[in-house]
Amino acid sequence: MATIERESHVESPPWPARVHDWLTTVDHKKLGIMYVALAMGFLIIGGIEALLIRWQLMWPESRIFGQDTPTLFNQLFTLHGTTMVFLVGMPVLIGMANYLVPLMIGARDMAFPRLNALGLWTTLFGGLVLYLSFLTPGGPPAIGWFAYAPLTGHTFARDVGTDLWAMGLLVSGVGTIGAGVNFLATILAMRAPGMTLGKVPFFVWTILWTSVQILLAIPPLTAALIMVVLDRQLGAHFFDAANGGSPYLWQHLFWFFGHPEVYILILPVFGIISEVIPVFSRKVLFGYEFMAAATMGIAFIAMGVWAHHMYCVGLARTVDIYFAAASLLVSIPTGIKMFNWLATMYGGRIRFTAPMLFAIGFLAMFLIGGLTGIMLAVAPVDFQVSDTYFVVGHFHFTLIGGTLFGVFAGIYYWYPKVTGRMLSETLARWQFWLLLVGFLLTFGPMHVSGVLGMPRRIYTYLPDRGWDVWNQISTIGALIQAPSYLIFVWNLMASLRSGPPAGDDPWDAWTLEWATTSPPPPYNFEEVPTVRSRRPLWDFKHPDDPDWKYEG
């Protein structure tokens, strides 16, 4: 009987009805899936841009696009940076949080489901506005992702591409702020009975602080972008040095957003890693309270370190010293996290399945990115290597080695919950090793070419600089990485149909999302369970030895 009914459910309505369903949905799970899908789409676009950049740099004095190469190269790295930060990094994390936060805290939906939908669509349309610049006569903006004045001034960027860049970011910023508001309200006011703020799953805790950062960091960007638009459209003078304006102000405003932004891109990943490592080490997260305090510490310190991106504009000596010291402080809470993850794994019964593989990859790669970050925080070192490939290598280690590895760990971990199917382990291993090797080959040598003095954003270089071999290794690494992303996308799509059924709780995990079906019904939980510890499912599975006996 049951099988027949199941099949009748499988039969889906005609496609216009399904499209309508997805376009009008306010379900946090569908919105989360669409956020992640959007991010994957833009990841491929941004990746193609990166490959073109690498191909152009493979040989000295090459011009792969002929006469237009310099302009096109500028446009490519502008779009690559903007896309990866605003249309891949933030959407994929907001999407995963969207899907998981209500499930993890035992809620039926987000606090503001319609606002949630608005956030998704503004992100999408913001991205489309940006990419519409391809259709304009001047093409996309060529200003770099941090768009320093006066490059955005009307004098230097006469085409409409720069306006579309600003508009796209403004529109998608509205959605990001909405998401921040939504997460805060959901996490602070909609937790299951018994789940105090000290008992939320760690991912939820990191999303809480990410939201605080969103609320404090995105509005300054909005204001600064509005000033750019006013300068360009109405002739205001904010960043126009000829009339008393200050390009320097733009740098302050942009980095006041920009630095918290990099923590917006990494804090949720710390959350993912803190969910994956305990489950696959079969131990509780070591030092939850210290981890929680470290997250808060990072969120606060991150608001006061922005000018370490600006040492080279010639700040006052005291300002340099303050910002160097404050930036170095970040390494303390981050170090606490690193050691706590290791302590969680120490002596555990580790399962080396795909999520754990990527989590360990994260630990190793992010560590390198963190260490080069400490080097760059020291002002004199930064004077030497600022705006060289050393910096490019550094932040790709944090954004790919950190954010992306963590996102992959999370997707391998939660995909069975989202779809009811397991992903292929074999493909996951192929993806992991290709990505790891390709990634190291791409971004490791950049540190060397950076120390040798190769500036970022140059479209080509002379053959006598000793940079050729490092660039060639980088490009070969990029070519090795590329198939890993295709394998991942293929795995996602193929497993949807042919993956083995996952069941409710394939990993024997401990947080509430594994208590409902895979995929969960629209209402998430029939009855919302009462929570007594940080691992509610452990308590249900081991009634004689529950966690709440041990937690303070």
């Binding site: 009008t24 306010v26 489901p113 019904p521 029939e526 009855e527 041990y550």
Partner: protein, 276 residues
Amino acid sequence: MAEPSNPQGNVELPAATVWPLVLAAGLALAGLGLATSALLSVVGLALMVTAVVGWVAELLPGRGHVAVPLAGVERRPVPVKPLPGRVEQLRPGMPGHRFRLPEKVHPISAGIRGGLVGGLLMPIPALTYGITSGHGPWLPINLLAGLLLPRVETQTLAELEQFQWTLFLVACGIHVVISLTIGLLYGVLLPTVPAFPGAQLLAGGLILPAMWTGASYGLMGVLNPALREHVHWPWYVVSQLVFGVAAAIVVVRTERVAVAPIVGRELPPAPREDRA
């Protein structure tokens, strides 16, 4: 908001709505229009107003929600199966225990002795090179000092072949420090190498020296390319191997001592492990 399901087996959820999509489209069009043509902005604003009106209407009490029926019984979550009894901690000998630390290690003195012996033997090939190549014994020593001292690379080859007091002292210092450090590292690392015959000699005598030789070749190219020109790399490799083999033999031949047991102690209950 976590309201319990009502007696009919329905759950109140917000209804699907198109207005967020319309509002976002309106916003994007309005922005696009500001950059291109005012007409687009007008259309965008009209869309936004329509969407806001529709949205507010759905916020009124009694609207904007639908009752979703509970899923069929066969599509409900499988109840969690409680396991009786306390949960044991993972201990050595249990399946799944993958905690491997060497139970016996070399004493610290072994590392020091290994470093010293290696350090005493290493100059032999280096000096042999200096003498046989005709550059004299001081060239390799002066080059070593150039690791630390600035402007050594600006000296001419003839100058580098001369004996220089400062360079000699600095080179001796560097040599002693590095030899001892690597010797100590050998004492710690070699016991962790898998236990098949000759594995420790292979690691200490060949693999590790090859790794640091490669690293110093690459690093010197970045940090001090001029200095790298003077180094005769085949002989350099030979002297590293001599050091490695000597230090490894000395370390491996010392008696190992048992480490204080750190496993099996009663741990506080907080870091709990799953043995279910």
